[in-house]
Symmetry: C2
Subunit: 179 residues, 2 copies
DNA sequence: AATAATTTGTTGCCTGTGCAACAATAACAA
DNA sequence: TTGTTATTGTTGCACAGGCAACAAATTATT
């Protein structure tokens, strides 16, 4: 147990070894997985920066894990010498928070689209921009993609087929091309 | 035009006067409003902290506006004297970014719920927690709520009625009570 | 008070997509 | 090879919820 729902956290962590996931319980008490954290991933960055807010979710290790914890207060105050390393650390930290926010933003953009087709198109366009090409390799499989877009995997497959038939995209497994 | 889509921004802004909104164009070229910014709101905080990333959206003033711009680099480096004010400014800035992220996170939680009823329940539970009571006043109207949850306003009204009939909630206009 | 404008509630219809169950293909191991 | 597992694709059915159109209630304006 790395972070427990309902508690405040004044530190954030970097997962050095192992893996973890964040979970919450929905209104009916069912446990649902929110995010997966792999080696090198950050844990609780948003929470640490938001003082007095209690964690809405629990972060659990899913394998033997080593986490490097950073006290938030020491990150922002820096050291007496105003050294470059502290400044760099701070910059990296802010960049991590911002990236988390931007990722969430992009996901919201997908989720807001009214149809499965538009969700897919929005997502594919994002990936295409990331890889600077209309031809690209999907970094995730259909299951994860369906979860990300919050649609049924079968509906995702079905719509991908239709989009191919309509000449919007070409694909084979994870190799995609936007027309 | 405060921020233009496709450009990088090394500053963020606080809207001192007037109002603004952020917009983007969807895959079919239709313009859609993403967020509204009111007096006192922040503009481009995520973007400024993520160097080299180009803005996915355009921010436009919707009335005569005054924006106080902060160069990102000066926020994080602080001044020579390592003064308390600079430190405070930094702390506030990080807190703004983090809050944006947490807000997005909460919205994603709502959007991920499979049914309108669960979306509503998740949202109402959030508001209830914010106001520390099972009786609370909804801060937004039905239109905005429907947009936020990404459902039809009519479907929202319909489901609210059903939930009342099922004894899950009580409400009159914007006064709500979770049972 | 009278009128207009805004917000909220209601309802019938119809389509998109969740669900379930299964088939096909690819990846991997023995 | 053969068997095993993981991934991807397909399809029929049912129904939740989008859409449209209207009614009721509340608030603002003259």
């Amino acid at each position: 147990m790395i972070i427990e729902a309902g508690t405040v956290a004044a530190e954030f962590g970097i997962l050095l070894e192992g893996s973890a996931h964040s979970i919450k319980w929905d209104a009916s008490g069912k446990q649902i997985i929110i995010t997966m954290v792999e080696k090198g991933g950050a844990i609780g960055v948003l929470l640490a920066a938001s003082p007095q807010r209690v964690s809405p979710l629990t972060v659990q290790a899913t394998a033997d894990a080593t986490v490097l914890m950073f006290p938030f207060s020491q990150i922002i105050t820096g050291c007496e010498k105003k050294c470059r390393h502290h400044e760099r650390l701070l910059q990296n930290y802010i960049s991590i928070i911002a990236d988390k926010g931007i990722e969430l933003h992009e996901r919201v953009n997908c989720l807001l689209e009214p149809t499965v087709r538009k969700k897919i198109l929005t997502y594919l366009t994002n990936i295409s921009h990331e890889q600077n090409s209309t031809e690209f390799i999907l970094p995730i499989n259909r299951n994860i993609m369906a979860e990300y877009l919050n649609v049924e995997r079968s509906a995702l497959s079905r719509e991908l087929s239709r989009m191919k038939a309509d000449g919007l995209i070409e694909y084979n497994r994870n190799n995609f091309k936007l027309m």
